[in-house]
């Protein structure tokens, strides 16, 4: 058992080391990720220092438990949204070896523990020792409870990844949406319930924190505080919930893993022959071909379906917050932010083609045609939804006069983002899961490259968009209809110009370096 696990572990880190040796970008990304983690750990200790000054145990417990619950939530939700729990040990790749699920499970668990996010979480959780250093017993208990925090986070994140992967395999796009909503519901329901029971939260904040300490997300974080406080009954309850959570998540993970070791490859959905779908509707020529292909993939490729969920998910989240916090501006920015995120997800869109991109190189397709085709597909999907949200969200908070400004901002963000992505995806190729793999399992190093890349692209989009953002902000702040309509017109013109520029520039780049891009895709695929 131990030997197998060790081999798997070594395999995982060998893959990582080879990746790093090959690519300086990846090395930079890992360093960047580690720095980011260090900053977070430093924040945790600074917070602990501040907490140490607080007299009442409760004053320490409240921020600690709430933040902790958010960290755990992040571990579970993040791989579902950005797609990647950094697993080179794809169970389906290992299916042909006589391995028991338990061993893969153990190896994957150790990988999760022994990598940057795991180490950072452990260090941050250990800050509890410092925060309660004037209560020796609590400080002592904080050490094993930090270990439990790490176990909960890693097991939770892997369980979510594995379960979601299986759902998508079986149900395609629907499975993906289902997975996100189930995860969100299961994880957020207890907190929502606690909030509902203790509404408004400021009336009885202590009871609310106690309630969060009983949820799967918060329980494990509450242990040192309850020890310091001497509240044995609460301590036992939280401990019970914490251990139960680990047990249930572990079991779910094991079941999902066993399932994916059994079923290999996606189940085929057969269409009638002669049903060409969108290929019948698009104009002839390369632009139409690429647009139609992209549209089919948006619906049928789980890796891309994953990204589409952003469009409804972000506005819903923002609107909920807007209602809960009575902050109307959250409703105004929902559509523009969702509009900017979708092109962002495609900042390295060609990576998802893999070497299938060679079909375009072989046919000597002009770069501009490729850019235009992809942009059209993205806009066909995004424009109706973004438009709808941009109209409905301001109406929902009772501000119809601000609809034009929100529309202008949203379309400007969508068009500009698409323009920027048209350039960046002609330059950048990142490792993504191959077609047919679990879309939530990311190749090693890809998380960090994705993050760094999306920072750069977000920065570029924000810079280009700045004039419209300023104009839109004035329009929203004043509620002036003239400024609002002005934002709409200016946003469409500005965004249209940015998109045109992006397509022309990206097309020119692609004309020059399409073969090199293909060579890089080929190298990525060979690992």
């Amino acid at each position: 058992m131990a030997a197998t696990v060790l081999t798997l572990l070594r395999l995982r880190f060998q893959v990582l080391a080879n990746t790093l040796r090959r690519s300086p970008v990846m090395r930079l990304a890992v360093i960047f990720g580690a720095l980011q983690a260090l900053v977070l750990v430093a924040v945790a200790y600074t917070t602990a220092r501040i907490l140490l000054i607080k007299e009442l145990p409760f004053e320490r417990q409240a921020p600690w438990v709430v933040t902790g619950a958010l960290v755990t939530l992040g571990w579970i939700i993040a791989p579902l949204i950005v797609g990647g729990a950094g697993s080179a040990l794809d169970p389906r790749k290992l299916a042909r070896f006589p391995l028991r699920p338990g061993r893969i499970l153990a190896a994957e668990f150790l990988v999760g523990v022994a990598w940057v996010p795991g180490a950072a979480t452990l260090l941050a959780a250990l800050a509890a020792v410092y925060a309660w250093s004037d209560y020796p017993l609590a400080a002592l208990v904080a050490v094993p409870s930090a270990a439990l925090v790490l176990v909960t986070c890693v097991v939770g994140s892997r369980a979510a990844t594995a379960l979601a992967g299986n759902l998508v395999d079986r149900h395609g796009a629907a499975g993906r949406v289902l997975a996100t909503f189930i995860a969100a519901a299961v994880m957020l329901a207890p907190i929502g319930l606690a909030l509902a029971v203790f509404w408004p939260p400021w009336a009885n904040f202590e009871a609310l924190v106690d309630a969060i300490a009983l949820t799967p997300l918060g329980a494990v974080w509450a242990i040192p505080g309850y020890v310091a406080d001497g509240r044995t009954d609460r301590l036992l309850l939280s401990l019970l919930v914490a251990l139960g959570t680990i047990l249930v998540l572990g079991l779910l993970w094991w079941l999902a893993l066993r399932e994916s070791l059994r079923s290999r490859g996606a189940a085929g959905h057969r269409l009638r022959s002669g049903s060409l779908g969108v290929f019948r509707l698009v104009p002839t020529g390369p632009v139409g071909a690429i647009a139609a292909r992209s549209l089919v993939l948006w619906v049928r490729d789980p890796r891309l379906v994953v990204q589409l969920v952003i469009i409804p998910a972000v506005p819903i989240l923002f609107l909920l917050l807007a209602f809960a916090q009575r902050l109307d501006w959250l409703a105004f920015v929902a559509a523009p932010i969702a509009a900017g995120l979708l092109p962002l997800a495609q900042f390295a869109g060609i990576s998802y083609d893999g070497t299938a991109f060679s079909s375009e190189v072989a046919a000597a397709v002009r770069g501009r045609a490729d850019r235009l085709g992809r942009a059209l597909a993205l806009l066909v999907v995004a424009v109706p939804i973004v438009g709808l949200v941009a109209v409905l969200a301001p109406l929902a908070v009772g501000s119809p006069t601000r609809v034009p400004a929100v529309l202008g901002l949203a379309f400007a963000a969508l068009l500009t983002g698409t323009g920027i992505a048209s350039v960046s995806s002609a330059l950048v190729v990142v490792p993504v899961p191959a077609t047919g793999r679990n879309p939530f399992s990311a190749p090693p190093g890809s998380n960090t490259t994705q993050v760094v890349g999306s920072y750069v692209v977000t920065g570029a989009t924000g810079t280009v968009l700045a004039p419209i953002i300023v104009l839109g902000a004035f329009a929203l702040a004043t509620g002036d209809p003239v400024l609002g309509w002005g934002t709409l017109v200016a946003g469409l013109l500005w965004g249209g110009a940015a998109l045109t520029g992006g397509i022309v520039a990206g097309g020119r780049i692609l004309d020059q370096n399409a073969p090199e891009l293909l060579a890089r895709l080929r190298r990525l695929r060979m690992r």
Partner: protein, 261 residues
Amino acid sequence: MAEPADRLVGAAAAIELAGIVKRYGDRLAVAGIDLAIPAGTFTGLLGPNGAGKTTTLSIATGLLRPDAGRVLLHGVDVWADPTRAKRMVGVLADGVDLFDRLTGEQLLHYTGLLYELPRETVAQRAAELIDMLDLGAAAGAAVADYSAGMTKKIALACALIHSPRVLVLDEPFESVDPVSAANIRDILHGFVALGGTVVVSSHSMDLVERMCDHVAIVAAGRVLAAGPIDEVRAGVSLEDRFLELVGGRRHSEGPEWLRPS
């Protein structure tokens, strides 16, 4: 003996590679290849694993930029005028993904439209190719669900749909069943009989000896011999000639421990 004019190549060459060099890092994959493939021939590119066959064919079809050298397709420089050159070639690349979430039929239409064929032409040719390659039952299923042989066949259909003058096929028969292989062979022979040029890479001697009229033997990134098959063979069997040229044959009975008892 070939005519002197044939040796001079030029217009008669379907593919002309001159001084091709390609490195991957510090590994020399193609070490200066000069090769002219005469139009109207059925040429086999033979070589051991890692000889540089796939790299050479990728360069010949403009999928990979060489570090040095020139590629002419029917006299058109692939890197100077890619659009005109590439319209003349159909490529079946080995180890390259397809957009496998499309159905077989959609994939064919996609490819046809990429080459700017009118929609009616695409529809008609797609139907004929599907029929010819016996893919009818699977035309409406996602290519991801195809077997290896069916995937090869749909990729071949994609290489044919724009009616190229030159076909470059990397390992076209790998994992294709005997019936389909025979059908594909017929198609290819017909294509050559009508004046087209076919280049297939393979490491199967038999296949090349049976199908091709010309052969080029490549190893370690160089052309060791090229020309009409009988000339290269020089009286012995192709396999003997190949082993003689490439070398590296071991005369042993395998490792000590490999003794099923």
